[in-house]
Amino acid sequence: MLDRLLAPSFKQIETIAILKTEKRVLKNNIPVFILNAGEQDLVRVEFIFKNIQWDINNPLLASTTNAMLNDGTTTKTGAQIAEQIDFYGAFFQTEYGYDHASVTLFTLNKYVTDTLPIVKDVLLNSVFPEKDLKTFSHNNQQKLTINLEKNDFVARREFNNVLFGDNLYGYKTQASDFDNLNTKTLKAYFNKAYHPQNCTIFLSGKVDEELYNSIENLFGNWESTTHFTHNKIELKPNIEKNYFIKKSNALQSAIRLGIPSINRTHPDFAAMQVLNTVFGGYFGSRLMNNIREDKGYTYGINSGNATMAQAGYFVIATEVGIDVRQATLVEIELEMNRLKTELIPFDELTLVKNYLMGSLLGSLENAFSHADKFKAVYFYGLDYDYFDSFIETVKTITAEDLMKLANKYWHWEKFYKVIVG
């Protein structure tokens, strides 16, 4: 007779095999990291550039340069670029983050020789036409107007601003900032930011010698011509800790609480990831159990350790009914204090450790995710041993260690508290 009360036996995950990238270097010294794996005949080609020379007097210059990279080159219009990328079933993406700007091509291997030259053209010869810039600015001003009606959007930008001050990490975009942009400055910035000395290439998916040779032929002779300086972020957290932005007719309040903290390079970071998981980092977390699953105040609440090149912070975010706003803050503080004063029970810590190992294993789904693991450490000056030590920490950390960490890093009175709605 089947006994359904009895859980099947299970195994602990002991080791996790992350596929390692192979490093090669193009003639012009661009480092290329290769992760060759996977069944499908496709490849992701990423060009990553460190962010440089962010200037508060023209705060959108860098991000707009990145966003408009597909709007035309000296030889092709934006329409032609889009037409060709789409014709070959490829995907061309640009992304601007706190620390890096990237240009990514996803393509089937059979079309690599058709699609890669387009990317080369974009990276070397972009022109940022005035007309497209005007459309871009207008449409993004409109988008901003809509976003400013969203409580969680407003909470996030206020939070970043009070935590970091007016720099790339904390700046609050204003509609008028788009008026400072023009083709000439975009082009000048493009030349400074997008060139070999500032570039790292990642190839993942089905990467063969032929693909590497194409990369060498197309990008190995690309020359660096200008001098540039990487961003140096000057952190200026506000003194005031409490912020409330009233929105009339709001049904919910967006809450964002947090504190400057360590980033991935710090020896405590892995342990803080474990502590965060217990607190608000997974579906079974203390915050979810209390504030969603016990009280029904919210659809979701979570916390996280955010890591950037020159900063780190710990954050708790949720949206709750306006009538339970204060009650939610009380419960969050209570859960934090419990972690500072009571040891995490053995069963709960075991569960969290198992969950984290399973989650790390599950995050290695395909060639892209294996490559992403490397990217997540490489730009911090770390290597694969980060993951070895992460796994070691997860396996060996004790409830006592975690209580010490909670007391070391979490001080409720020092938390920034931003509420919108």
């Binding site: 359904r4 099947p8 299970f10 995950i13 995907f91």
Partner: protein, 411 residues
């Protein structure tokens, strides 16, 4: 190409197994053939609320989530107008735990009163967060009843109103479970580093003892053909005017679906698509415009969603949209443009094969549509679409009298 093997248990449960040895993980996906379209019109939002209750403990297992997290697994679920889909990903060595958990909640739930109370609150907060407290968030609550007069697609998955969720009673929950949550109404897909024989044995062990239950026979009203244009205007606290134009189109299982899906792509897939190119880039008439379709199983919605620039009248904005639709009705799409959208469809499906979970979900959905192998044959249907098919369908679908237009305007 996604490989799979299929078998059916004596109680009617359909099982598909997809072996993929490139991953150390396994997926167990269960699709229940019940969605918001199967709800009582007086109790909308129930299928989705019920999905939340599926995590409130089953007859032998008090906490679903904890038991799964303990073995390194994760799970989630979603409800649509057509289906409710649950999935687990976990290290393949611990696959049996997924069988234990999923079979127990298919067998019977704990029906905890506390869980019902709490999840009613959680879903009401979800309702507010996603539909009521967002600019334009309630648009589909307003639009669906304009587009559908008879078919239960006239309400959204979240429900028509908060009161329907607040009023849910335990007796209704139990009745819903008995009606829809049994082996005959479910499709299980097990994928990843698994072995067919092993999966079969686990199915026999955990799922085969569950009583077959009564097969739910769906008998939904058919949405009559629209013969008159519908226009509506609402004013709300939003910064910009928006236009929503909806046309009814074939459902996902119908022969003409791929043609209309490619029309959607011609209009709105990628930066070379017509709406983006013509109405945002070449002539800056809109700050945002896109076309999409819902891919629903019954009569489906084709949607154009647009935010006209302030200097453009609503009338001229609609004219500009109609120009694009009329072009599809009068001119044959060029070979190059047609090849382009087909190539994009192909590459999108190859890229989706990189995700084990996507493959498992697609297999379940294909089986629901009549044949799991559709996952492999769908591409051919798309590649057979001709320029003439496109022109023909555009003429059938895009007519003034079959249009439903909502002006969602700033107060």
């Amino acid at each position: 190409m996604v490989n799979y093997k299929k078998f059916i248990l004596d109680n009617g449960l359909r099982v598909l197994v997809h072996e993929d040895t490139t991953t150390p993980m396994a997926v167990l996906n269960i699709l229940y053939d019940v969605g918001a379209r199967d709800e009582n019109p007086e109790q909308t939002g129930f299928a989705h609320l019920f999905e939340h209750l599926m995590f409130g403990g089953s007859v032998n297992i008090p906490s679903y989530d904890e038991a799964l997290q303990l073995v390194g697994g994760e799970n989630n679920a979603f409800t649509s107008n057509d289906v409710t889909n649950y999935y687990i990903t976990l290290p393949a060595v611990n696959l049996e735990t997924a069988f234990w958990l999923e079979s127990d909640r298919m067998l019977d739930l704990a029906f905890s009163a506390k869980s019902l109370e709490v999840q009613k609150n959680v879903v009401c907060e979800e309702f507010k967060q996603r539909y009521l407290n967002q600019p334009y968030g309630d648009v589909w609550l307003k639009l669906r009843p304009l587009v559908y007069t008879k078919h239960p697609y006239r309400w959204a998955t979240i429900g028509q109103k908060l009161a329907h969720i607040e009023d849910a009673k335990m007796a209704d929950v139990k009745a819903f479970f008995a009606k829809h949550y049994n082996p005959q109404n479910a499709i299980v897909v097990v994928g990843g580093k698994v072995n067919f024989d092993e999966v079969k044995a686990l199915c026999e062990k955990w799922f085969a003892p569950i009583p077959a239950g009564v097969k739910y026979m769906r008998n939904l009203p058919i949405e009559p053909e629209q013969t008159q244009e519908i226009k509506e205007t609402i004013y709300a606290d939003v910064p910009l005017n928006a236009i929503y134009m909806v046309f009814k189109m074939p459902g996902k299982t119908e022969d003409n679906y791929p043609t209309v899906d490619l029309i959607t792509d011609i209009l709105s897939q990628g930066k070379s698509s017509r709406l983006y190119r013509n109405l945002i880039k070449d002539k800056p008439l809109f700050s945002d415009i896109k076309a999409y379709n819902y891919g629903s199983l019954d009569t489906c919605m084709f949607v154009i969603e647009a935010r006209p620039n302030q200097n453009l009248s609503l009338e001229d904005a609609e004219k500009a949209i109609w120009n694009e639709l009329n072009a599809l009705k009068t001119e044959l799409v060029s070979e190059v443009e047609l090849t382009k959208v087909k190539n994009k469809y192909e590459s999108t499906s190859v890229f989706s094969e990189m995700s084990l979970l996507d493959k498992a979900m697609n297999l379940a959905y294909s089986e629901l549509m009549g044949d799991a192998n559709l996952i492999n044959t769908e591409l051919e249907k798309y590649s057979n679409v001709s320029a003439n098919n496109i022109k023909h369908l555009a003429n059938q679908i895009f007519t003034q009298q079959k249009a439903t237009t909502l002006h969602y305007l700033a107060k």
